[in-house]
């Protein structure tokens, strides 16, 4: 039997392993001179990787390795979105990695990040619960190392410990839930398990356990309690990675599994999601209003954004999946822009991340302030920025399935969210400050990353071809 064809469906993962190995080898071989080009080398490599994988090669869904691994074009699109996000995070990490206390760990950062990305890619393409779980763990464990990357900084180490403990607990619950499914349905293959899903009491309990695991990754209320502390403690670059890439992968996987596996018990998980969405959006919004630290603030903002993403999941339609992928892409551009600004300010002002430190930022660093404003407008869903379009589409997706009241609650919450996003804008543009962040010029890679995000914020919504392209491959119940 010829197996060579099988591997052509794994092209993303194989290329990614190649990039990871190259990073590992470069770290090992390069001398002092060579390490200076490490960053440039890796970003070029990532760029090539993205350029090679951004368009799905195969236009149909294919199962390989006996159904363990499922290639789907829309999954492939999500993988390239994640890769683009990772590249932007790498670009933003430079000013932080260049510092003396992290410079020697540079290689580890790249390799760990790339491994989590690999884990997410496998998670997205899994066709079996075990495969899914392995991917999830591969994405979680190195993540804990990343969170604790500044290990001599108390906050970072604490955040790492919190993250790994909560992650393990969530994984444990999830495995417990999966074992019930094995007990009731007799298999863990996504395709084979469907006839065995009948919505019995045991399966509902199992589903709740399973959902807990993913809810933790996406940081939905009530599984969000780790989020704010971890986001605040982790190095800003890692926080942005955590808030965007990791969340996006988990959200997409959740939708795929809900649609493919749990279709027969749709009414149960829709009820569950309904409650979780209302809680996530509302509670996170109310907490975000009170935050004084921008990283914590964005942590709560990202929880509520996760709630919005679930609006697309609850619909379960192909159109909902398109909206989800598009939302994730737009959210990535906006959130990475916001974190990019925070990271740049933090690195150039001895670690200022408080809301008050941003008072008067427009006077000293007008460009950063404008980028931050546009990013927040996009997050709040203000046209003509991309966030408006993505929000409209997920609302339409949920509305189409009859969740009128839910959409209404979400809409009311967009007004609340606008309030706290405007608080930051107000700080930067209106508030006075005697000791504002001094004027500085960030390095080329930060500027490039912000430019990419800005382009995303402006172009993604106005150019409809991206949405149409995703819509071509989306599937639903």
């Amino acid at each position: 039997m010829d197996f060579s064809g099988i591997f052509t469906y794994l092209y993303t993962e194989i290329a990614l392993v190649g990039v990871t190995v190259a990073a590992l080898l470069y770290d090992l071989i390069a001398g002092k001179q060579g390490r200076r080009y490490f960053h440039g080398f890796l970003c070029t490599l990532m760029l090539l990787f993205i350029a090679g994988t951004v368009i799905p090669y195969h236009k149909e869904t294919v199962e390989v390795f006996g159904g363990m691994y499922v290639y789907s074009p829309v999954g492939s699109i999500v993988k390239s979105i994640l890769a683009i996000g990772t590249l932007i995070v790498f670009l933003q990490s430079e000013s932080w990695l260049r510092r003396e206390d992290t410079e020697f760990k540079r290689g580890e950062f790249y390799v760990l990040t790339l491994s989590t990305l690999l884990g997410m890619d496998f998670m997205i393409s899994s066709g079996h619960f075990m495969m899914f779980f392995i991917g999830l763990e591969l994405a979680s464990v190195p993540m804990a190392c990343l969170v604790a990357f500044d290990k001599y900084r108390h906050n970072s180490a604490e955040a790492g410990a919190k993250y790994i403990l909560s992650a393990l607990f969530a994984s444990g619950l999830m495995l417990y839930g999966i074992s019930f499914f094995y007990g009731t349905a007799g298999t863990l293959y996504f395709d084979d398990i469907v006839p065995g899903i009948d919505g019995s009491a045991l399966q509902i309990m199992a589903f709740v356990f399973f959902f807990t695991g993913l809810g933790f990754k996406i940081s939905l209320v009530p599984f969000h309690l780790w989020t704010a502390d971890t986001y605040e403690g982790a190095p800003t670059t890692v926080t942005s990675y955590l808030s965007v890439v990791s969340k996006a992968a988990a959200a997409f996987t959740l939708m795929v599994i809900l649609v493919k596996v749990f279709g027969p018990m749709a009414e149960y998980w829709q009820t569950l999601l309904y409650i979780v969405i209302v809680l996530s959006i509302t509670i996170a919004n109310l907490f975000a209003i009170r935050q004084k630290n921008l990283k914590r603030f964005l942590a709560f903002s990202s929880i509520s954004q996760a709630g919005y993403i679930m609006l697309a999941v609850i619909s379960g339609t192909p159109y909902g999946m398109t909206s989800l992928v598009f939302y994730v892409l737009v959210y990535m551009a906006a959130n990475l822009a916001a974190f990019g600004v925070i990271s740049a300010v933090e690195q150039n002002s001895d670690g200022k991340t408080g809301m008050d430190d941003y008072n008067g930022l427009y006077k000293t660093n007008p460009k950063l302030a404008v980028i931050m404003t546009l990013a927040l407008f996009s997050l709040a869903g203000i046209p003509p920025f991309a966030g408006f379009f993505s929000k409209f589409f997920i609302f339409a997706a949920a509305f189409e399935q009859g969740f009128h009241v839910l959409v209404f609650i979400a809409l009311i919450n967009t007004v609340i969210s606008l309030y706290y996003y405007l608080l930051v804008v107000k700080a930067m543009f209106i508030n006075k400050n005697d000791t504002p962040v001094a004027t500085f010029r960030s390095d080329w890679s930060t500027r490039l990353s912000l430019l990419l995000c800005l382009a995303g914020i402006i172009v993604l919504g106005l150019a409809s071809c991206i949405f149409d392209g995703i819509n071509l491959y989306a599937f639903g119940m």
């Binding site: 046209p383 509305f399 809409l411 804008v425 107000k426 949405f467």
Partner: protein, 494 residues
């Protein structure tokens, strides 16, 4: 490219021009070129439109053009105009032009100010040319958000509070509109977002209309200063810088009335007939309450803001009467109120720029000190209270004439109540004019003040010419409007 698409495109190009300009002179050059171009284009549009009607083109929307934007949701970028939108575009162009000159002396962050100002006008023009629900809503929100920074950064008084209140209330309104739009789209079978097509299909079930009509009407009503959702308006107008007050009261509040008419009533006609009484009561309260509130204010801008609540209430009141005379009056009132309130705010800004107070208790005898501004203020006041020969008379006359045509007790009673606002308006306007313009000047510092400069004169004169033009020669305008109102009204009634 369709001529209509130029209207949002020109302010966008102006933003680009502002971005690269280096000093105030260049900024002014860009603004004047762009604003004059817009004004010229708007006048050309009126001529083209009237010419096409004279050629016998009877389609509801003229100059239409569309291309598919988001196919999965049938979202198109679709443009088209009828008499109502042509009138509104002309109004917007006049206000943008005069607003530019009214903020000639702006000295802090000029470039940013005009960039946001241009973004605001992109939204306004885009809204009036759109015939697609989604694009219309998008432009609507584009017009709202610059207000936050325009008021928050360049405003006066308790600007942060006002800016936040205004933005959140209007965004709350737009949240209602958004869900209403989704309701209309999916209620009509999810085949098109084009307003004329949805109206022609006329297939939204009545029980859904009953839900979406009040939601959309309140959503747009927030911007149209519908009682009790008007509270953002006095604070917002009082804190905003001159040009922003002009554009906001002059044009932006008209977006509310236009949306109520074009979306809420046109697309959900049965519910509009059934539920109109609730909103007629609310708008009657707006009209009378706004006028009474204006009587007791002491800040010039607050007086004008409450007067706007009253006059904009009259717009919504008239469209709810659902006959073509009243609706024509409503559109005329939008025009007339837009012009005269812009004139008011421009003059208040100029007076405030000199005296540094807007408190009427501290102002008196200005007629001798700045005769030009004072005479113009009197003209604005007279237009406001509906003196024949000026635009206010034409509009209000048509409205009350139309409103009284419904011969049942309810409509007649509310019309009589609303009519009293004319008298109350006369009370506060005449008292105000007497207090601040006549008498002897009490503050010696005011004696040294100078009269209007050329840029201020230009801005004011353009507005007065427009007001007098509409007042003396109303027929061409009211014919153009009533021709377009007729199909909408007959659609609502059948």
């Amino acid at each position: 490219m369709n001529i209509l698409s130029l209207f949002p495109a020109i302010p966008l190009l102006m933003m680009l021009g502002l971005w690269i300009s280096r000093n105030t002179k260049q900024i002014h050059a860009v603004m004047v070129t762009g604003a004059s171009l817009l004004l010229g284009l708007a006048i050309a549009l009126v001529c083209i439109y009237l010419g096409m009607r004279a050629d016998g083109q009877t389609a509801e929307m003229l100059l239409t053009d569309s291309f598919m934007w988001y196919r999965p949701l049938n979202i198109e970028y679709a443009v088209g105009v009828d008499g109502i939108s042509v009138a509104m575009i002309l109004l917007s162009a006049i206000i943008v032009f005069t607003g530019t000159f009214a903020s000639w002396k702006m000295d802090t962050n000029v470039k940013e100010f005009f960039m946001w100002f241009c973004l605001l006008s992109v939204g306004v023009f885009g809204f009036f040319i759109s015939v697609d629900l989604f694009t219309m809503f998008m432009f609507y929100e584009v017009a709202l958000i610059p207000m936050y920074l325009l008021i928050g950064v360049w405003g006066t008084g308790k600007k942060e509070y006002s800016a936040m209140k205004l933005t959140l209330m209007l965004m709350g309104g737009s949240a209602l509109i958004l869900i209403g739009i989704l309701g209309i789209y999916f209620g009509s079978g999810a085949t098109t977002m084009n307003i004329t097509d949805i109206a022609q299909m006329h297939n939204i079930p009545l029980d859904m209309q009953r839900i979406w009509f009040p939601i959309i009407f309140i959503g747009f009503g927030v911007l149209g200063a519908l009682f009790p959702f008007h509270t953002w308006s006095p604070d917002g107008h009082a804190s905003a810088p001159t040009a922003v007050s002009m554009l906001h009261a002059g044009v932006l509040m008209k977006l509310g009335g236009y949306g109520c008419f074009r979306i809420a009533m046109y697309l959900l006609p049965e519910a509009a007939q059934e539920l109109s009484w609730i909103f007629i009561i609310l708008t009657t309260i707006s009209v009378v309450y706004g006028a009474f509130s204006a009587c007791v204010q002491t800040d010039l801008k607050y007086i004008n803001a409450y007067s706007s609540v009253s006059h904009c209430g009259l717009v919504l009141f008239a469209i709810l009467m659902m006959n073509s005379t009243a609706a024509t009056g409503a559109i005329l009132q939008m025009l007339s109120h837009g012009l005269m309130t812009a004139l008011f705010f421009a003059l208040i800004g100029m007076i405030y720029g000199r005296t540094h107070t807007r408190d009427i208790r501290e102002l008196s005898g200005l007629m001798k000190i700045m005769p030009f501004l004072s005479v113009c203020y009197v003209i604005a006041g007279l237009a406001n209270l509906g003196l024949p020969g000026l635009s206010g008379f034409v509009a209000e006359m048509t409205i009350f004439n139309g409103a009284f045509m419904d011969n049942d007790v309810f409509h007649r009673v509310v019309t009589v109540i609303a009519c009293t606002s004319i008298v109350i308006t006369a009370v506060y306007i005449l008292r105000l004019i007497g207090k601040i313009l006549y008498g002897t000047c009490t503050d010696p510092a005011h004696l040294k003040l100078t009269d209007a400069t050329w840029d201020e004169r230009l801005s004011v004169i353009v507005l007065i010419v427009a007001i007098a033009g509409l007042g003396l020669f109303p027929l061409w305008m009211s014919d153009m409007i009533s021709e377009s109102v007729l199909p909408v009204i007959s659609h609502i009634l059948n």
